[in-house]
Subunit: 243 residues, 2 copies
DNA sequence: GCCGATTTGTCCGTATGTATC
DNA sequence: CGATACATACGGACAAATCGG
């Protein structure tokens, strides 16, 4: 379970919001009330509230209180703002994940790979192409580059399940942060070959660069989605201090 | 200028990173060093560093230091994670913005509008359709719903420039947070009529719900982009505490 | 319009825990 | 093991915004 107090408070408040105990547009109990309830310092409450704000659950209003923004929705919850493996996303949306490995090989980064992925020239990499299925339907085409030294012992068999689970649970690799770029691109011959595209002529593409907790780039991935099965959520705050 | 110390420190460190004073994969000076330099408490430094992490500039490594993730890129900087008006984005990417208003009318939210936008039934709204141009090319089709009481005095003339500037600078509306959902949708007859689509048969769509600083929903917008002119960036952290 | 109570925002100093080297 | 660096938490102080009387 959460090993920090502020995370526990965050989870607790989030649960209350999701179950409707605190309702849409209502104000939460004041920070001082929460300090009393949870028996902690105000800074700890504020940290939990800040996290709720970043995830779009609440918004603080200076001098007034903290308002609930969250509304329950029928739509599958595809919360983003944190990092999830394909397997985790599929299961959370109650779909059955499946993977078919198309290519699996080792290569050394040359100038072309460097400028595309950011890996230094000469870096040893594992290159993988996979078709991802949801409830048996081929919907996503994935292209991965992993640093071979960090993803040591990676096999085609592992790639047909969850690489992230292998990295985190078997190798103990700690994952830090990801930068994602979302674009829409014309579909390629590979897309058409492996994905049931109907008459779409483009794909929704998530290009992500992932760093270990040590701040080292270890993965570059292109995830190409059939347009109608793609949804991405993002939460943002307006900067103040503009005049 | 920034009216808080941690924002000033954030700006200062960000500038150093962007200009290459702190380089990619380097470690920043330790928090205690920065405390000395900026003459503040450690918590203030940590708050600035936290912000840099959220924006993808750095990543903290427990027991070791804070590593720079940012790499200068030739690509136009399309940072997201904060809220920008169309005009602001265009100018930051050195393009000339232009707007053509197609429809401008008032309406009252009925059940259909409610389930689409989230505005309560009976809410008075302003409905706008606009074609957005970049360097004279029609590339984006925007559909807006604004709460009429908050966007008071909004005219077609204002809509042909920047509605946000009017709201913020003329009316003093404070904008809080936005929830954005990105999807790819088949193009509609309106898209085809107003946007030069070449042979694309879909559009990149950003659907956003924006709240005032008071936490009141006041805008619901669909921004439909021609696929090749669309790019969206998002930064995420891996949650810890999983076992 | 002013005042006072409440509430969030910023900042400080300190203490302790934990990971890295 | 010790020194260094980041992570969490506490408590206190004051500023700034909101709201009711």
């Amino acid at each position: 379970m959460p090993n920090s107090k502020y995370t526990a408070i965050y989870e607790s408040l989030r649960h209350r919001i999701e179950t409707g105990e605190y309702r849409y547009e209502e104000l939460l109990p004041s920070e001082n009330m929460l300090v009393g309830e949870f028996g902690c310092a105000r800074g700890t409450i504020r940290r939990a509230l800040n996290e709720l704000g970043l995830q779009g659950y609440v918004q603080s209003i200076h001098g007034k209180g903290v308002r609930v923004l969250y509304r329950p929705t029928a739509q599958a919850q595809f919360t983003v703002g944190n990092i999830e493996s394909y397997e985790e996303s599929a299961l959370r949306n109650h779909r059955v994940p499946g993977t078919h490995v198309i290519r699996f090989e080792r290569l050394t980064a040359d100038e072309a790979v460097h400028s595309r992925t950011g890996f230094a020239v000469g870096t040893e990499l594992v290159y993988i192409e996979r078709v991802r299925m949801l409830n048996e339907l081929p919907l996503i085409f994935d292209i991965n580059f992993f640093r071979a030294d960090i993803a040591a012992g990676l096999t085609q068999e592992i790639a047909s399940h969850s690489i992230y689970r292998y990295l985190e649970q078997e190798l103990g690799v700690a994952i830090g942060s990801t930068r994602r770029v979302i674009t829409v691109e014309r579909c390629t011959a590979l897309d058409q070959q492996y994905i049931d595209l109907e008459d779409y002529n483009c794909m929704a593409v998530i290009t992500s660069s992932t760093y270990t907790a040590d701040g080292i780039l270890f993965e570059y991935t292109q995830s190409r989605h059939r347009p109608d099965q793609f949804l991405f959520v993002s939460q943002a705050q307006r900067k103040k201090n503009r005049r």
